[in-house]
Symmetry: C2
Subunit: 555 residues, 2 copies
């Protein structure tokens, strides 16, 4: 027996939806040659990551093994799969492979960060293969809600792995390639060691519906509209964008694309040839010159994002265009959990304008891009893998997916981020636990999620902030009284005097009684003043603020 092993290690995406980052390795333990599949981002929220711009997987483990990395493969151009490629390029410097459309999108991002264009190699589809050390990797087209999504056929000396990427079983996807059961059966015919499989929709019990089924309902809706029609969807869902645009065109409307991502995705689709014959578009300026019943806007912001076009229109004029009573706004999208408040806010703003808001609550104007439970089983049954490793899902999704595998007699493995699985033998086993986590892109800086930076911001958001300043003269005596500034705190508390006055008085009293030892010791002063400031605030306003103490010594 060789002492080489085949490993699977998720660094992101296994235990969450988003931030996909998976590692495969082959070789002697610790010396494996590695490939990375996807480097995506997750999005911040006020509850856990206020002020953060993007979240990426902690790649410290990979960075330390940079020389072992043969290549990075990107399955498709969604941000949660490709979004971290540019942000990690400097630290990994490995060749990146993606299909044409994905590469086009990725290169736009790379060039923003001044990375070289040729860092990304355009891959051809299966049966073409890329050799990456002990691996050969093929891009196998699979249907999803963005063009040119791929499963990866990863061959190693220890057997074949099928990494599904995000997918759905759609034989009429509109734009992009149909799901090809025969082709997957063909690649599986000599046996597949492991299927590493999308899990996001495992709790959806009905078979998924095809993108191709939406056209008629959307056309009917748009043609019934009286005023201007505005529709939003994920810009990357190019098939949907096209369906919407065609519905507009057929209803005699000129199409306007609003929002950077919307234009970027349509451009990339046309440039790469994944989409042909998109209806002609006009500019916002041109749109202003024609009757509103002849206009249809396709806009970004299906998740109610504050800065996207939909939210801008909800606040008033955007690019010279404005919604009015009798117009219609269509959410051809679903709301991702956590985004409800933003979406509802946009809906209500439109309602206030007298705009009719149509959403997907009746299931007519949106279909998911992911495989539902029966569709997952379809893939399982085609691939017939020895091992099933659920990926891309929260813990509950992965666990449910493992249960399905087990019920089918497939060895299911519940591997969350940081769990290295040895796939070499007949049964998968846990090889190691790797420390993983999240890195925050915060302004122009990357900080660790556990560095405390964001924790401090959350505390200030909950408790407010107080600055306490004292000056100690050169004989270690206070010079004047302590000074207090408050931010994010009520001006007045229970005693009906200004909060800062009350706290200053309490601090002055404490300082007046402080021992010479305390007055000489910055640490004791700092601790004492902080404690009094917090206690005094708590008495006044029922809240203990975060406190910055500044002791200035004239000595």
């Amino acid at each position: 027996m060789s002492s080489e092993r085949l490993i699977y290690l998720p660094l992101g995406g296994a235990g969450e939806i988003g931030m996909n980052a998976y590692v495969y390795g082959y070789g002697k333990p610790g010396k494996e040659r590695l490939i990375v599949v996807d480097l995506g981002v997750a999005f911040p929220d006020m509850d856990t990551s206020p002020g953060v711009d993007l979240i990426i997987a902690d790649i410290a483990w990979l960075e330390k093994r940079r020389k072992q990395i043969e290549a990075i493969f990107v399955t498709h151009a969604h941000e949660d799969h490709v979004g971290a490629v540019a942000h990690t390029y400097d630290r990994l410097r490995a060749p990146i492979y993606a299909r044409n459309f994905t590469a086009n999108i990725a290169r736009r991002k790379m060039s923003e960060y001044k990375h070289p264009d040729d860092a990304i190699t355009t891959a051809q589809v299966w049966p073409a293969q890329i050799t990456a050390g002990p691996f050969t990797v093929g891009f196998m087209p699979i249907s999803h809600s963005i063009p040119e999504s791929s499963a990866l056929i990863i061959d190693s000396p220890a057997g074949r792995i099928v990494h599904s990427g995000d997918f759905k079983v759609d034989v009429t996807p509109g734009v992009g390639e149909a799901f090809d059961a025969a082709a997957f059966a063909e690649i599986a015919k000599d046996g597949v060691k492991a299927l590493v499989c999308d899990s996001t929709n495992v709790f959806s019990p009905e078979p998924g519906r095809s993108e191709g089924t939406l056209g008629p309902a959307i056309e009917e809706l748009v043609s019934s509209a009286k005023g201007m029609v505005v529709a939003t969807t994920f810009a990357s869902n190019v098939a949907r964008v096209k369906t919407l645009a065609q519905a507009g065109e057929r209803a005699g409307r000129s199409i306007v694309l609003l929002g950077r991502a919307m234009k970027r995705m349509v451009d990339a689709s046309l440039e790469t040839g994944v989409m042909k014959d998109f209806p002609p578009t006009i500019s916002p300026e041109q749109a202003r010159g024609i009757p509103r019943e002849n206009v249809m806007l396709l806009v970004t912001g299906s998740q109610g994002e504050r800065r996207a076009a939909s939210a801008q229109l909800a606040r008033g004029k955007y690019m010279g265009l404005e919604m009015k009573e009798g117009d219609m706004f269509l959410f051809s999208s679903k709301t991702i959990p956590g985004n409800e408040r933003g979406v509802i806010k946009v809906m209500n703003s439109f309602s206030e304008m007298g705009v009719d808001v149509v959403d997907d609550s009746n299931g007519k104007y949106h279909v998911s891009g992911h495989a539902n439970r029966p569709d997952l089983e379809t893939l399982h049954d085609i691939i017939k893998p020895q091992i099933l490793i659920p990926m891309h899902g929260e813990h509950r999704h992965l666990r449910e997916h493992v249960k399905i595998a087990d019920a089918k007699g497939i060895a299911g493995v519940l591997a969350v981020n940081g769990m290295m699985i040895d796939l070499s033998g007949n049964a998968p086993k846990i090889a190691e636990y790797i420390e993983t986590g999240r890195t925050y892109l915060d302004g122009s800086v990357q900080v660790g999620a556990l560095d405390g930076v964001v924790r401090d911001r959350i505390r200030m958001a909950l408790n407010g902030h107080m600055t306490v300043t004292v000056i100690i003269d050169d004989s270690d005596e206070p010079l004047g009284d302590p000074w207090v500034d408050a931010m994010g705190l009520p001006e007045m508390g229970t005693s009906k005097s200004p909060l800062v006055d009350v706290v200053e008085a309490d601090l002055a009293q404490w300082l007046g009684r402080a021992s010479p030892k305390t007055l000489r010791d910055d640490k004791l002063l700092d601790d004492g003043l902080r404690k009094i400031a917090r206690q005094s605030s708590n008495n006044e306003i029922g809240k203990k603020p975060e406190v910055t103490v500044v002791v200035s010594r004239l000595s």
Copy 2:
């Protein structure tokens, strides 16, 4: 013609879900005698109100007219209808009327704030009436997801108003009174001027299901469970709590109530007699002594609230009890928009423990407490009002509800918070716009939502905080260099030196060049130092922090 008028004025709940507060008045303009219907709270969130404890309607308008207020009527004991009664008592001091169960709950809250027990009068149901100045008001039982909910029959010299309160059309509600169509027809038979009507479920197209339909499915589920069963629902949904407890009892399980609200609601129901024969319960200590397959916990925290029993169990041991592999957790509830992240977090923690989580995604274990669209129409058709005023709903709900009214030939009025409607004539008209808003209960203080306190906290959460300290000596010269403290900011930026060092150097340079005029002027110093600190930070970390500048003058 008399110059008296009948007015309706929502101060909360009209343009939002939650924070219900409605005013009716009758009399000469400006001199109307007033009654208040419901004084509820809304709940804060990190996005818009971090650190806030509760949100209540701004009652400044009412407070100014305190002497005109005849009475406050509370339709039912949900927090968004009764939650602000204790917090506004000192400012309004009006007699409060509620039915027995609601009064029981309200008095518990009042006593926490040391308000007198007799501030709340227990009301009898219709045909009993309470005289409140020019009004007579009757409590008309109506089905909802809490016992003793009531519509109010409000008679005035200008006609009868039916204020629906929150309701559903349920003839088998389990605990509490069934919807009585005949009784409502009877009160409507001489004509109703206005129906002021719940709108929250106006977008649900199917008729609502009865609470009474849930028992068999829940019993089947609980009796199929192998390990411990834990179920959560709104504690105030006493009928559901009873259904769950009975399912447990029939499956041979002892019932444990966990969470303060759970015990309070069951106690209040038994005390007031609205519920009889609740299965016997045991304490957590007793539960530890019996096999887990014979235990069922009923716990608070259906919305994933951090401090509730469900989240505590998700984090580990709570009251000596702990969930284990093979146990089951049932959400007999729906997730309120905005609470998804918290609920999902709880679900995934249980998944990690190997607990099977069952939710309502198949519609079997929960029904809504509100009237769906067809049920709303049922009430419209029974009451046949001259005017329909939708209440309790976001703008989009109110607007949709008005459309339904208009389609029926009823005069629908879209009245949002602050819009005073004159109902005296044959057609409703807008009488006035009143300034309204939200008041935050923040620790022990009430602050206005627009006071800037919370805005500053949000800014610190997004941008971090920096303190800049300088000492100016008695000849108006800087004594030493500026000093910087940062909170919630990365330690290091692009120059790979500590952020505070870089900013201090920039500040020192600016201060060194500052003119004598600037050095003499606190405002100029403050502005200049703040600007430099923000610019310098932005260069280093791509973020402009909130800055507190402290200039200490020795002179």
